[in-house]
Symmetry: C2
Subunit: 418 residues, 2 copies
């Protein structure tokens, strides 16, 4: 028997209803905040991703050649594709360009809890603004999404790449192109690696002192402490927090300079949201201000954005026991044996055309079998066309939860459900 490929999933109706519910919340929120939805191809030129993340990414993604010999890759993330789209076809759009997306991404990863080879991301990008207002807005949108889904235990760590970059810039012996390596090592808390690089360029003694300085900067979790280290960065983040207070969301945020987000293209505010319920894989959202458009051949346009790990947020909700039950709507129609089948077809058609979700047996089936089917599919109501009633044009409506029954005309039934 053929199975779904390793690390991928089938979503049956109850799972899809749950996912569409969550999507709907995120989509509505993005629209509330003035973002327009975009969608890009499932595969892209491999070059797009190596340009953004370096050739190392090839080991982690689905890369393949098409029949024309083109190097393609299933997209591992959506920021690069969306920025490519902006560069290709939205360059002259008035700024800021505010976009959101909800799409699938692919990584050739070891499948484990909350990690899939095909996974889903919701994200937004603001192109042409990295002001405190823009930074605050995306954090507010991320928090609103997570809160509206019902997740209770989450924390938002807000940092800024400026402070650590400032501290790196001070180390004159260190070539600029080594900054990324150090940022990546700091992000992963691999301090020995940081020290090794520094030893290479600054000598033995000095290196350990410098590592201490960097360690200190990324250990800052207090705005006053940050003020002493880097007043400009502190001012920016204070402004961000002030904006967030209008949403009542500053309470979820803590200043945390350890949010480094390894990648070279982050330029300012960076943030992460964690759901402790998920244990080791607790990050459910990450983002910040970045510069990517220039790398793709566009201008030097500041941007800011985030991506929420859609699957992980849903997993966190489930761990908190907050997954909502999304019931089937509408009713299932059954008839007593002597009522013509055709009458049932006609009633179903009429109700459907009135906008009421209904179903009925697609082949001849006994009343009791029909009831069992309706109940296993969790229809909240069953409409029974009983012999005598139907002669008078009436139907019995049964509430499947309470077992209560009442007799209604077709018009009354329509009025009830429309």
């Amino acid at each position: 028997m053929i199975q779904a490929p390793r690390g991928t999933r089938d979503f049956p109706p109850d799972e899809m209803a749950y996912r569409r519910w969550a999507e709907g919340i995120m989509r509505r929120n993005a629209e509330l905040f003035g973002y327009g939805e975009v969608s890009t191809p499932t595969f892209e030129s491999l070059e797009l991703f190596t340009l953004k993340s370096g050739p190392g990414i090839i080991d982690e993604i689905y890369a393949f050649k098409d029949k024309g010999g083109r190097d393609l890759a299933l997209r591992p993330e959506l920021t690069a594709p969306v920025m490519r789209m902006v560069v290709n076809s939205m360059r002259s759009a008035p700024k800021p360009i505010k976009l959101f997306y909800l799409g699938n991404c692919f990584r050739y990863d070891r499948p484990q809890s909350g990690r899939y080879r095909e996974f889903f991301q919701f994200g937004v990008e603001v192109v042409g603004a990295d002001t405190p207002a823009a930074d605050a807005e995306i954090i507010a949108l991320a928090i609103k999404n997570i809160k509206d889904l019902g997740l209770e235990d989450f924390r938002v760590k807000v940092g800024h790449i400026g402070a650590i970059r400032g501290a790196l810039n001070v180390i004159e012996e260190l070539p600029k192109e080594k900054h990324t390596e150090i940022l990546q090592a700091l992000d992963k808390e691999r301090y020995e690696e940081v020290e090794e690089i520094l030893v290479k360029y600054c000598g033995e003694n000095d290196a350990s002192v410098k590592v201490k300085v960097l360690e200190h900067v990324i250990s800052i979790t207090d705005i006053d402490e940050l003020e002493k280290q880097d007043a400009t960065t502190a001012d920016h983040l204070k402004e961000v927090l002030k904006h967030l207070s209008h949403y009542g969301f500053e309470q979820y945020c803590t200043i945390d300079m350890s949010v480094v987000r390894g990648l070279d293209y982050y330029t300012g505010m960076v943030f992460e949201i964690e759901a402790p319920a998920l244990g080791a894989e607790k990050q459910i959202c990450g983002g910040g201000a970045y510069s990517l458009i220039k790398l793709l051949g566009g201008g030097d346009i500041p941007s800011t954005g985030f991506a929420i790990g859609f699957d992980r947020v849903l997993l966190a909700l489930e761990k908190e026991g907050k997954r909502p039950g999304i019931g089937r709507k509408g009713l299932y129609i059954l008839r007593a044996g002597s009522v013509p089948y055709e009458d049932m077809v006609g009633l179903a058609a009429r109700l459907r055309l009135s906008g009421i979700p209904v179903d009925f047996p697609l082949s001849d089936r006994s009343l009791s079998k029909g009831m069992k089917y309706a109940s296993s599919l969790k229809y909240p109501y069953v409409a029974i066309m009983g012999e005598e009633e139907w002669e008078g044009g009436k139907i019995t409506l049964r509430d499947m939860a309470t077992g209560e029954q009442e007799t209604l005309s077709v018009e009354e039934l329509i009025d009830r459900f429309v």
Copy 2:
């Protein structure tokens, strides 16, 4: 500059709004008819598709090996994946299982008008029923989708594979395994090919007579004529049309035995919907009763279903000039220079938290530049925080279409838009 891969598309916000509108119609209709949404992985084991369509399909699809050496393929269609899912995990679900999907598919095809390498399909599958009621229901759902989108010129050709299979079964000399080849040739109207096969098995003289018989059968477009050829098939289709009359949809349907749908797995009713506006590539929907589950290792369960070419239907709508304008909702907030920026952030937050879509400048910007931005993004309303008004807690609301302005309190503004 990196481009989207050949044959793929980026969808900017106005395009996505249009697509989501169309998706919404199809999704709501599927729910009205009692279908539950499912989703399957973007890639599958290559074997799934060769099993269904033969090894020839490999030339037309994106097949690749993953890093573990597995033969995978980007899905070229969705019936086989959905049936795999049913066999894997829904075998014990009560029948009929009524599923729908809306997903992207991939073909390594020569890109042309209405044909993309990544394209989208909406489809339904009824597993466990191929009764006239089931056949009629899927045709009704397909027609309702197309009508609700607003397409006016379309025709539905309803055929049945039974009549032609019956005529083939009569030719005793012809091995059963040759039937598919003949069906495929008939589907493509390659009668010489049909004759060649028949000559091989039945001899010269007889062959041309037999081709004439087959040609006659597939030329039938009249239920009485069909009755003479194959009464069982005619009865089934009469029943289907009677069911469709409850929706008022029989008027769109014509009996047409030339709908052969080439593939081996069709077993009964088959239908196609065409939009003449599209010219040569006019087919926008195809489906019918089939048997596929057995091939995938499940039981011999009758099924029926269809797929609508989502991109083609939208293209047909555009050719008919029926593409709706989907405007932006909500309002854009601006302020006079002396009103604190922070007040605008606060007002925006309050409106958003009330469920009103709003946006405002993410950096300091003049009133006139702000108006230009709001107008280019087609905001229907702009709320202006004028200096004096705002001191009294009031805002000027400008209708961008008419230019009319009125002064409202924040509460009145909220009441207006919620």
